[in-house]
Symmetry: C2
Subunit: 206 residues, 2 copies
């Protein structure tokens, strides 16, 4: 009996050590695996996100690079249930927004300040949507890493959607909503798509 | 004696299981840390990237989400030294390109096919630059995860830069270069910027 217990414990130790080793290796690859495992999640349990979770998501978003380090992004977190219902309750895919843990609207300043000869003026920021797209991707990847799910629903440059969101959130004139991202606890079993297509790659010349 | 062995093995199991658990946690955090640690690397050793490294970077790029799953991206990998020299050898920051392990140009199809009544036509893809920006961010994050460095140098919508790159790579008329990304082995000690600004976050209303 004791021998059996000893044997069982030995096997258990080895098994657990094996898992531990493979995790040490995959720890290095975890960031790559996270990129490959991200999927669009449109079905949520309804559980709300904590303030800490929202802060982690936004810190990740603000870690993206921006042209000239201008950081033109700003974020509106919608976590008031009645506000979510008022904004998205009767639109397409309403359930996705209503059951999300929060809806994060990634916005960008479309103008930037320029100082010249002691005077400050506004000029267009030609890169705001690229910077804010990179931030949105970071947000989606952070959600995946945290065991949450998210989906990028497009806003800019669809004029009527931008106008509606901007008006409902009271955005300043030079702030444009780029993407609306419901984030939450996945309710389904969404899987990542394999989109690798070697024919999309050219070497040195088209 | 046997009791001691059993106890020792029990403790070993628990210890190893403990390590395993903490690694499972840090595995989850590894992806977040990678997002926070990504930095713009502009100084490289000159060591070339392997085909396998380039494939991993591009697989990560193609794992990004795209509007309507259209996947409008395409990539030109420039790893021929004379081609890099011809394209970037006398421009701004020439050394950054010349010493990179490869220069990857992230491009996008600006039009998409539409089938209607048995006829196929082309229409503008209004989301190509957002999709390709997300792919570029994935590429940068994959480089960080692989111990490499990279930097997003802007191309679109700077017309003269787009025209020059498109002409030198022989891009089709509906393919636009979005970003030029030198990737390689970091030569310096670039550090990530802390860009977290809570004042960029609004709740439920601006």
């Amino acid at each position: 009996m004791r021998k059996t217990i000893v044997k069982a414990l030995c096997l258990l130790s080895l098994a657990v050590a094996g898992i531990s080793c493979s995790q040490a290796v995959s720890n290095q690859d975890a960031a790559l695996a996270n990129i490959m495992n991200r999927k669009s999640v449109r079905s949520f349990t309804g559980q709300k996100l904590s303030d800490e979770q929202i802060t982690t998501l936004l810190k990740a978003a603000m870690a993206a690079p921006t042209a000239m380090n201008y950081q033109p992004w700003c974020f509106v977190v919608i976590n008031d249930e009645s506000k979510i219902a008022a904004m998205f309750g009767d639109g397409r895919g309403a359930d996705m927004y209503l059951k999300a843990g929060a809806v994060i609207v990634v916005c960008g300043e479309t103008t930037m300040k320029r100082s010249r000869n002691g005077e400050t003026s506004e000029m267009p920021n030609r890169f705001w949507f690229e910077d804010c797209s990179a931030a949105t991707e970071n947000l989606l990847l952070a959600a995946e890493a945290m065991g949450l799910g998210a989906v990028w629903t497009g806003c800019w440059p669809i004029e009527n959607r931008c106008e509606k969101i901007a008006s409902e959130l009271g955005l300043p004139e030079n702030v444009m909503p780029l993407a609306v991202v419901p984030v939450g606890y996945p309710a389904g079993d969404d899987q990542p798509k394999d989109k690798w297509k070697p024919e999309k790659v050219h070497y040195n010349q088209w």
